[in-house]
């Protein structure tokens, strides 16, 4: 008997009593102010936020930022989704030069519109799997990642160090409706 069939047979014979899926039972608390909530979460993550008027301003700001920084390899991408409760942005391989880019670069810069902010991860996944004409879409084709700040570790005596193995710096250029 193959391992697969053996395992499936063992699982079937375990006779775990039937339990229904609880469904959508969590009543999510929405933040009073979505933007403030996102900014606070970003601050906690060590993410720098620069508020801009439009996409061009964002690119300009990124360019001048790069000139100030001493030679950090920089990646600039645009995200279509940000999550307020944890200050994360969603990136997929379609908008990346390759999958390793947002991790390998030293400074990750992300353009995000305020209108693309959602309160929680529940809302985020709902957005990503929105039903279009009755068909639910896949959240990703091949690869996607929520990134919440620069890489970090506290593995040495619980001291927070920014710039573990991924990026050392993380900046969001937030297009706000001002």
């Amino acid at each position: 008997m193959s391992s697969r069939n053996k395992i499936l047979a063992d699982l079937a014979s375990a006779r775990y009593p039937d339990v229904a899926h609880p469904g959508d039972m969590v009543t999510v608390t929405l933040p009073q102010n979505l933007l403030h909530s996102f900014l606070e979460a970003c601050h906690r993550n060590g993410t720098d936020i620069i508020q801009v008027n439009d996409r061009n301003a964002a690119t300009e700001a990124c360019r001048s930022n790069m000139n100030q920084d001493t030679g950090l390899s920089t990646l600039l991408v645009e995200s279509s989704l940000g999550v307020a409760e944890n200050g994360s942005v969603w990136l997929t391989e379609e908008i990346l030069p390759d999958r390793v880019a947002p991790f390998a670069c030293e400074h990750l810069c992300v353009i995000l519109s305020e209108k693309d902010l959602v309160p929680t991860m529940h809302h985020a996944y709902q957005r990503l799997t929105q039903k279009i004409e009755g068909n639910s879409t896949q959240p990703i084709s091949g690869f996607g990642v929520f990134i919440a700040g620069p890489s970090k570790t506290a593995d040495i005596e619980q001291t927070l160090v920014t710039g573990a193995q991924g990026s050392k710096k993380h900046t969001i250029f937030l297009i706000t409706s001002l």
Partner: protein
């Protein structure tokens, strides 16, 4: 039994009382970070209940969801393998590496691969695996096992890390700052990633609905590994599958807050397909999980999402350290999982507890950890009988409690027992009695006192 009992290892750990106190305070501080994060989520208890129910539902038809996951994963181009036990898991990985002529392998955190003792197995076949999570990298260089499933090097001070890095990375002896040491490891590991020909990762969640893997890290090491290698092998316990995409946020909102007090890990990576030119292998591992599923008293331990919150709160873990547990996964969850794998070897672990229940309070998926510890104690006592001291105490109490008159008379003697117990000889019997005073014992038994009052009130 080739290892020392938890009690004796803990005794050794506690001899360095400064270090033990530091370890205790550090873990408690991590627990308090969790509390701060939880305070910001008013629906926290509702999330815990949802997570528990989703896991129970999944476990109630685990075979169905695994088959669904496999079907979707195969459609996505992921190669799916099944391993009954650790040996089969290790062999499978070795064969994949051999077929791909992979010699330089990087691995991100996977407690399952620790459980299966993958690294030593591959070393014997001449394949060196570099553990890339900073904490695991440090303990690997020191030839030690990790002492915590989320914070592998929590038992080490920075001076100890500095010594290890001086030896292996030629770091400067004068600088033991975490910034400097982390930077040194980053540079070495970047080289390692770029030269690796295979990457092994764990899996946090496998979504049956669309055959997708979710991997969470703070460092980004899993991604640096898997996106730079032609071969990506993901190892996963069969209990890690969840039904649908809509279930992900329930667990993701609980995981990092419970583990470290962060609202989320820095990176939450979702994989549905291998990258062009890459092969992605997924290994589904049983290794005792289907047997545990068949045990009504212990099956719910399979809900575990490996957050480590139970470790951080446990007063015994905090004051004995992960290495006292002589098992892959320490802490309360380890003490509930390991006896199932080997009661003979790990039967002492359910006793490494005060049954305070703090673990059950913080568990994001509501495993009744302290209840299961208690059940394991029954099993261990019945299988092994307990120490001679325990047997003697049990016998003495048994003999006493079935003799009510004797019991009542002995209680009367409580006064002079109290005086005896305060004598230096008896106080020094154990650390417990050395640090505690017996409370003053009343001169009357309760039934005498009650009868006297009742008579007075008549």
């Amino acid at each position: 039994m080739s290892h020392s009992s938890h009690a004796s290892s803990a005794g050794a750990f506690l001899k360095d009382s400064g270090h033990a106190t530091w370890h205790d305070e550090t873990l408690w501080w991590i627990r308090s970070k969790r509390d701060n994060a939880v305070r910001n989520v008013p629906e926290w208890e509702s999330l815990r209940q949802a997570a528990s129910d989703i896991k129970k539902h999944t476990l109630s038809r685990l075979g169905y969801y695994l088959e669904q996951f496999e079907k979707k994963a195969l459609e996505n181009g992921i190669k799916v393998h099944w391993a009954r036990d650790a040996e089969e898991h290790n062999k499978l990985i070795y064969n994949i590496l051999k077929d791909n002529k992979a010699h330089r392998v990087v691995k991100s955190k996977s407690m399952l691969t620790e459980e299966c003792r993958l690294n030593p197995y591959l070393e014997k076949q001449g394949i060196h695996v570099t553990d890339t999570d900073l904490g695991e990298y440090i303990v690997q260089l020191r030839h030690e096992p990790p002492s915590h499933i989320v914070l592998p090097a929590i038992h080490l001070k920075k001076e100890q890390v500095s010594e290890t890095f001086q030896e292996h990375l030629n770091t400067h002896p004068g600088d033991a700052s975490p910034d400097y040491l982390t930077g040194a490891a980053r540079d070495v590991l970047r080289d390692t990633f770029y030269q690796a020909d295979a990457a092994i990762t764990g899996v946090n969640f496998a979504v049956a609905e669309n055959g997708m893997l979710v991997i969470c890290t703070n460092e980004g090491n899993a991604d640096m590994g898997m996106h730079l290698s032609k071969v990506h092998i993901a190892s996963m316990g069969i209990e890690k599958v969840i039904p649908g995409i809509a279930d992900l946020p329930v667990f993701l909102r609980l995981l990092a807050r419970s583990a470290t007090g962060q609202a989320s890990t820095v990176y939450t990576s979702h994989l549905r397909r291998p990258a062009p030119g890459q092969t992605l292998h997924l290994i589904l591992v049983d290794n005792g999980r289907s047997a545990m599923l068949a045990e009504p008293q212990f099956r719910d331990a399979l809900k575990c999402i490996r957050c480590g919150a139970c470790f951080n709160t446990c007063p015994v873990y905090r004051r004995s350290g992960g290495h006292s547990y002589h098992t892959t996964v320490a802490g309360p969850i380890g003490s509930v999982l390991s006896p199932g794998q080997n009661l003979q070897a790990h039967g002492d672990l359910p006793f490494a507890s005060t049954l305070c229940g703090s673990c059950s309070q913080v568990c994001p998926v509501k495993i009744d950890l302290h209840g299961q510890l208690w059940h394991w104690r029954q099993k261990a006592m019945m299988a092994q009988g307990g120490s001679p001291v325990k047997k003697a105490i049990g016998w003495a109490f048994g003999a006493l409690l079935i003799r009510p008159a004797l019991f009542r008379n002995l209680l009367l003697a409580g006064g002079w027992i109290g005086k005896l117990a305060s004598l230096k000889y008896f106080r020094n019997i154990s650390a417990w009695t050395r640090q505690r005073d017996l409370p003053p014992l009343p001169s009357q038994r309760f039934d005498q006192w009650y009868k006297q009052r009742y008579e007075q009130q008549k």
